[in-house]
């Protein structure tokens, strides 16, 4: 449940509110329902879950703040460490075209769609 909620928080930070809401009302709701079913006391379960979600929200906020602080330093550090560590070494800003994948079969069509949506995101903002 924590993992699902972290995903929701990250999506909201990225401005993808509709996707976040969709997950919130499907995956998260299902997970909450299952957790409540397994609990002897509903108020107690509510309290534990609320605390868990608040903690996960704080963890994501901390992670985002940390990333904002560290990202400006990364390119220099990675370049110093050599091309193998640099995601920009391929010259492709998407980091997708580093080379041919061994087989199209190894990736599902849904993975391709994920690639496409990742490319569309900067354009949609």
């Amino acid at each position: 449940m924590g993992r699902i909620y972290r995903r929701i928080c990250f999506l909201r930070f990225e401005g993808r509110g509709a996707e976040a809401t969709q997950i919130e009302f499907t995956e998260l709701k299902d997970a909450v329902d299952v957790a409540k079913m397994g609990s002897p006391s509903i108020p107690e379960a509510d309290s534990i879950l609320r605390r868990l979600l608040e903690e996960e929200g704080e963890r994501v906020a901390d992670a985002v703040a940390f990333a904002e602080a560290i990202v400006p330093y990364l390119p220099g550090q990675m370049a110093a460490a050599g091309p193998a560590l640099s995601p920009l070494a391929s010259g492709n800003s998407m980091g997708l075209k580093a080379g041919l994948r061994p087989s199209g079969d190894a990736r599902s069509v849904a993975d391709f769609i994920d690639d496409m949506l990742a490319q569309d995101r900067p354009r949609a903002r």
Partner: protein, 382 residues
């Protein structure tokens, strides 16, 4: 303004989510039907089928045209006294309707007609009108946000969910023979190929190399079937002034006689002008117009080949595939292949996609619809 998605609250939110305040997504309650849609400038293809199966329950190619019946048409002339006709029926009744073409150069230019046309396609796929329809719709390579938004707007209230995917990639996906992907010797077009999809409004070229094509991997040229029609029309009027032939007739002539390469003469075409049968020599007009297409797409083809990695380019050169209506132009494969060979490219092989050329994009779209994860769909609120 962009299309509304998932903003109106519909049911109670889960009680525990701190930020829960908006709507429940449209979880399918009615039967769900998936649709693959190639919304073409001249012809559109719709395929439909249920999720969790590979069956195709509907497969139709429809001319992309809407006919709004003129006022004052006598009862009974139009079947069922319909007010709006679509596709072949609209063309058959062109004397009695105002014809509207929803798209030009692959982009919606007539929003009302586009919406009516989508409703018609929905009706073809789901005559009962009760299913929840999720549609993957092909868009031209490099289609801008405005063009995409126009499709989303036209589809709002017609489909419940939508996903827009560039057409050349869908063509590769549709062309892929899934049953043979694991067979030794099968060359998977999704792994390493270059697709040339020549439609009515645009010619789209795309490198497909095992990842989703980036913008740099796709080139869309606003020169395709319609532009060829216009060139033939102009050439015809220069040679035979006041011939009175319509663009629709010129398109029919093109579809029957189009070719590229050295001039083919005599190429005599019988037409009826002013009620009299005449034979026109069209070898030069058709050849010039179709060869103009080669002049447009060849530089794009070589640019994409140049952008492929050196590790992949030799195999890539053997997997250049021409699809779309333009693949029916006689000699297009051999002319492109010869030009590449003459320019020194290593053993190029240009192939035609084959008889299903009108369906590959929609086939790929239906495959994508079946594979899409729940969170990849865009929910349309109508």
């Amino acid at each position: 303004m962009t299309t509304a998605t998932l903003e109106k609250p519909a049911t109670a939110a889960p009680s525990l989510a701190p930020s829960a305040q908006s709507s429940r997504p449209m979880v399918p309650k009615a039967a769900c039907l998936l649709m693959g849609l190639d919304l073409g400038t001249n012809k559109s293809c719709v395929l439909a089928g249920g999720p969790g199966s590979s069956d195709i329950t509907v497969s139709k190619v429809v001319p992309s045209v809407v006919g709004y019946v003129k006022d004052g048409i006598v009862d009974g002339i139009i079947t069922g006294n319909a007010k709006v006709l679509f596709g072949e029926e609209a063309l058959r009744q062109m004397l009695h309707v105002e014809l509207a073409v929803p798209l030009a150069e692959g982009v919606i230019t007539h929003p009302e007609a586009a919406r009516d046309f989508m409703l018609h396609l929905r009706q073809l796929a789901d005559p009962s009108g009760r299913s929840e329809i999720r549609a993957v719709v092909g868009v031209p390579a490099n289609a801008g946000e405005q063009a995409r938004e126009a499709i989303r707007r036209a589809a709002t209230g017609v489909f419940s969910h939508i996903l827009l995917i560039p057409e050349p990639f869908l063509a590769a996906l549709g062309y892929r023979d899934d049953a043979r992907v694991r067979q030794p010797g099968y060359v998977d077009p999704v792994v390493n190929s270059l697709f040339i999809d020549i439609g009515g409004g645009t010619s789209d070229l795309c490198l497909v190399q095992g990842y989703f094509p980036t913008r740099e991997d796709q080139i869309s040229i606003p020169f395709a079937g319609d532009a060829i029609d216009a060139l033939i029309f102009d050439g015809l009027n220069r040679t035979y002034p006041n011939n009175g032939l319509s663009l629709i007739t010129v398109r029919e002539i093109k579809e029957a006689h189009a070719y590229v390469g050295p001039s083919r003469k005599p190429l005599e075409v019988k037409v009826v002008i002013g009620g009299k049968s005449r034979t026109l020599e069209l070898g030069e007009a058709i050849g010039n117009a179709c060869n103009a297409l080669i002049d447009k797409i060849y530089p794009a083809l070589t640019a994409l080949i140049a952008s492929a990695s050196s590790d992949s380019v030799v195999t890539l050169l053997q997997n250049i595939i021409v699809t779309g209506g333009g693949s029916q132009i006689r000699g297009i494969d051999t002319v492109l292949q010869k030009k590449l060979a003459d320019d020194g490219y290593e053993s190029p092989t240009v192939r035609l996609a084959g008889q299903d050329f009108q369906r590959y994009v929609a086939m790929g779209a239906l495959k994508a619809a079946r594979a899409a994860r729940e969170n990849q769909w865009q929910v349309l609120l109508g």
